[in-house]
């Protein structure tokens, strides 16, 4: 990965004594990254330190190698802040064109670009109506349009999905994936975990102003050893399969749910996942389905944030 697009070096930010960020160091490259964290975890502060709205109390932020804030960086940066109010009297076209001009495009180019981008975000039907009459969904699309107008390589989206109806959500999801595929660095903060998961597997998790986790979702899941991997297996002879599995060293516990479901906990997921089909075939057990209920973003997020201080503690430790 060449020079990272967005880089924070031990950044801290306080407003008076209220904590915003504490000693966050991170480097993000091209592709879509999900920015997650409970309310008040510092997601907005994190984004605002990158856009230059806020200056870190300590540490340094760099965008495409250039120190933030600098006027030139805004040519490479498109952001959709979480404000809900616009220049209400203007129409979407006038709003986007004016901001395009401010980004250095001539009035003509801005006009042409606005037409294209507003169409892309699905706003062609209400271009020339005043923003005051817009629904929340239309405001989100307009906000995205002004962020993409000057074709920036870095795009920051703060909760882009709120207010969108399912059709709009599907379209926004597609657009974000397309932006990522075009090699842009897209940072999306959101609370809707299943949507983030269908968008990307690269996540950043903040908790009370600190960086709690970063990287590939499934890799992170494997590192949470407080919660061993759980497999839920539907098959015709669960007890036979359980007997065979009990000799597997990687298996730490077996539990039966009714007479057709076997639940397995393991600390060695790779060995265990490989062993299950092999043993089933050998013992003539027909596996109807196999899933790991907590190998998704929702579970990972819950396990990470339920007690962040002890995420990496060994499984059995702790006071009796």
């Amino acid at each position: 990965m060449n020079a990272p697009t967005i880089e924070l070096v031990s950044v801290s930010k306080w407003y008076g004594e209220v904590l915003g960020l504490r000693d966050v160091s991170i480097a993000l490259g091209p592709g879509v990254t999900g920015l997650l964290g409970p309310n008040g975890a510092g997601k907005s502060t994190f984004l605002k330190c990158i856009t230059g709205e806020l200056r870190p109390s300590r540490g340094e932020v760099r965008l495409l190698g250039r120190r933030v804030p600098s006027l030139e960086m805004y040519r490479q940066l498109g952001c959709a802040p979480e404000i809900e109010v616009f220049f209400e009297e203007l129409t979407a076209r006038e709003f986007v064109v004016a901001l395009g001009e401010m980004s250095g495009l001539s009035r003509k180019d801005a006009g042409a670009r606005a037409e294209v981008v507003l169409h892309e975000v699905g706003m062609s039907h209400a271009l020339d109506r005043p923003i005051a009459t817009y629904s929340k969904g239309m405001r989100q699309r307009t906000k995205l349009a002004q962020a993409l107008l000057h074709d920036p390589p870095v795009v920051l989206l703060d909760e882009p999905m709120t207010g969108l109806d399912p059709v709009g959500r599907a379209a926004m999801l597609e657009m974000i994936q397309k932006l990522g595929a075009q090699g842009r660095t897209v940072l999306v903060s959101s609370h809707i975990l299943d949507e983030v998961e269908s968008m990307t597997h690269a996540i950043v998790v903040l908790y009370q102003g600190q960086l709690l986790a970063q990287g590939d979702l499934y890799a992170i899941r494997a590192m949470i050893d407080r919660h061993p991997h759980r497999l839920v297996i539907e098959c015709d002879k669960p007890r036979v399969l359980a007997q065979a599995l009990s000799r597997e060293l990687s298996v730490s516990s077996l539990r039966f749910q009714g007479d057709a479901v076997l639940e397995v906990e393991t600390h060695g997921p790779d060995a265990c996942y490989a062993a299950v089909p092999a043993l089933a075939l050998r013992e003539g057990v027909k596996l109807r389905s196999l899933r790991s209920p907590d190998d998704n973003l929702g579970a990972v997020f819950k396990y990470l944030t339920e007690d962040p201080r002890k995420v990496r503690a060994e499984a059995q430790g702790g006071p009796r």
Binding site: L164, P166, S198, Y273, K286, L290, R291, K302
Partner: protein, 298 residues
């Protein structure tokens, strides 16, 4: 509600809508501008339908709006509080506006706030609340006068994952133990899948679907949804060798595989063992409400 229509300034917000909202937790879905909020306002008697007949809990919202709104609770999508009021005052005010005497109103206010889980913050002004707390305060204000029917407009909007879980369990609990029917209007279809039993879909003022949730998402599909870890190409080779067919991939790294024998994935397992790839998940392909919804609207 039988063939209700609502037209104004040339726009047909609702066109011949006939539906009966069953008891339980019903989802009211539809893209923006489909007429959901118009429907809600007609049910609350705030807006007069151009034609058609409406009945809510035995009353006609047009002829007797106060009687309807006495037994109905409404949790709006946007902010709905008063300046300079804390949560207790707001709920007590809501209760008194529904006719409860002052003493009962205060007591009901605390009961409602306890139920939605606002503890020490109930004495702070509602304006200072975070999004999560505001949603809870709105829910408390909507149930304080003990409604029989509750309209919730985007209750989980803007909530972080944990608050969303708690809000959903509250909504679930409302019908179960409180016997208060719920109509949930939301854009988060995953919420609907977890909480609602009946689904109504509106599109451009018309009813596109009015059916139990089960019928919309469960229909048998031969394919299996797979997530694997290991050499994808080698695994696909092995699958073909075992006679499995591949459908176009689902979102991201998932594989859609149809085994030769209907309903029996053993061929897939054999391919996995043969190419020693780890199958991290193998489930019958499930159609989410999103797919059903988008199909209805295209």
């Amino acid at each position: 509600m039988t063939n209700v229509a609502r037209r104004y300034e040339g726009v047909t917000a609702l066109d011949g809508v006939s539906l009966a909202i069953p008891p339980g937790r019903t989802a009211l879905l539809g893209p923006n501008g489909a007429g959901k909020s118009t429907l809600l306002k007609i049910l609350l008697g705030l807006v007069k339908p151009t034609e058609g007949r409406v009945e809510v809990l035995g009353h006609d919202p047009q002829r007797d709006p106060l009687a309807v709104r006495l037994r109905v609770g409404y949790m709006p999508e946007d902010d709905a509080h008063l300046p300079d009021m804390n949560a207790v005052e707001l709920c007590a005010y809501g209760a008194e506006l529904a006719g409860l005497p002052p003493a009962e109103a205060i007591e009901r206010a605390h009961a409602a706030l306890f139920y939605v889980g606002i503890d020490d913050k109930r004495y702070l002004p509602v304006e200072s609340y975070s999004t999560g707390l505001r949603q809870r305060a709105k829910l408390a204000a909507a149930i304080v006068h003990d409604p029989d029917l509750l309209f919730l407009d985007e209750p989980t909007n803007g909530l972080d994952p944990q608050a969303r879980e708690e809000m959903l369990s509250l909504v679930y609990d409302l019908k179960d133990r409180r016997g208060c029917d719920v109509v949930l209007s939301t854009h988060l279809l995953s919420d609907v899948e977890r909480v609602c039993s009946h689904v109504i879909v509106l599109g451009a003022g018309k009813v596109l679907a009015d059916a139990p949730l089960k019928s919309l998402i469960e229909h048998d599909d031969p394919a299996y949804e797979l997530r694997i870890k290991g050499d994808r190409a080698r695994f696909v080779e092995a699958l073909k060798a075992k006679g499995c067919a591949l459908q176009e991939g689902g979102p991201g790294p998932t594989l859609m595989v149809v085994p030769p024998a209907l309903g029996d994935p053993s061929a897939i397992w054999e391919a996995a063992v043969a190419s020693d790839t780890q199958v991290r998940s193998l489930v019958p392909r499930r159609h989410s409400l999103d797919e059903a919804f988008l199909k209805l609207l295209r």
